[in-house]
Symmetry: C2
Subunit: 211 residues, 2 copies
């Protein structure tokens, strides 16, 4: 046929990464998946790091963006962030290996959507940006925590459907915390900015370990 193209490489990379995790993914593995020599992929992606960025962008593009008339702002955020959580969970380790200081196009788009939802809810621009980062931080942190927990609890793995139960439980835990956060945001919206006061008060937090 007419040879590889970037999409082939990205798809194969994503497939392998979903199976074994982004950390274990190897350029040689990728080549084997494509049935091609080790260096062939480099004709279409400049580096492994860049390949991972492509995959991550693709995965974030799969996040469900709720339409405007899809309920209150908090329901819309819940839909979006739940989808983000399950999408991000698809490829283990991927978000540990992304090039630092690099914002993916899909990430930017999602940030815009979330900011829009928060603004429509009545937040001022600055608090909206903070809230958006707080939520995103929560999502990423939960993905990380879940990975660690899942790895830890493989003892009762006798029947095959334990993994399924775990996924549902993961989602439940994630949703619990997300709703806590949304409740806090709702309160912030009504009560008027209790969270942002006195941020500069405690300038020197204890950063010296006791050892």
């Amino acid at each position: 046929m007419t040879g590889l193209n970037e999409l082939d490489v990205e798809r194969a990379g994503r497939a392998v990464a979903e199976r074994v995790g982004a950390r274990a993914l190897t350029m040689r593995m990728l080549a084997a998946e494509l049935g091609v020599s080790t260096m062939a992929a480099y004709r279409h992606v400049v580096s492994k790091t860049e390949l991972l960025a492509l995959i991550a962008d693709d995965i974030l593009s799969g996040v469900t963006v709720p339409s405007g008339g899809c309920g209150e702002w908090d329901t819309r955020l819940e839909i979006l962030e739940s989808s983000a959580f399950s999408q991000i969970s698809l490829v283990p380790d991927l978000w540990d290996l992304l090039p630092p200081g690099r914002i993916l196009p899909a990430e930017l788009r999602l940030n815009g959507v979330v900011a829009g939802i928060l603004l429509s809810a009545g937040f001022e621009p600055l608090p909206a940006a903070w809230a958006q980062e707080a939520i995103f931080g929560y999502v990423f942190g939960q993905v990380r925590l879940r990975m660690r927990v899942v790895s830890a609890g493989l003892t009762d793995d006798r029947d095959g459907h334990r993994g399924r139960t775990d996924r549902a439980e993961m989602q439940a835990h994630f949703l619990y915390g997300l709703r806590i956060m949304l409740a806090g945001l709702r309160k912030e919206l009504e009560g008027g900015g209790a969270a942002s006061c006195e941020v500069h008060q405690r300038s020197a937090l204890p950063s010296h370990p006791t050892r």
Copy 2:
């Protein structure tokens, strides 16, 4: 002298990791820091992974645990988690490289403290556990986000104290989201469990990317 011991190795490892990050830390670098051959450290730590676990445990041991009479439950949580945030931020990449499914002793201890604070606040055991995981997830997620942002914004780095400003701003953003979360928890405590309802309702979340 009487040679190396585990503490020497851990301290040198931590020092190097704080400078260059846990990802860039190399066993050969560590040896150079210790003024010793590449393999010498292996007499005292079984692997690089285990060394990182030691460092991480040490760092978490430095988290400030507020004493019982130190204000309301939410103030105590704020103190503890702020300290956790700044401690965890000390060594870049460390929490990306920790052995999966491994709970550190210091982590266990902190979990216990947080759980105790939540129980004393009036949470039932199960919601307390969920809330604790939600908070921890947030903390880890913020550390990750901050690393990415700091790396991204190195353009206006002309005067030397830009890093300081960033650190303060990081803390401010972190605190904002944490207080949102605490406000949500307070509401949960009063209003009675709106967050945990209907977690099994939406069994199949959209996990198929549009591509």
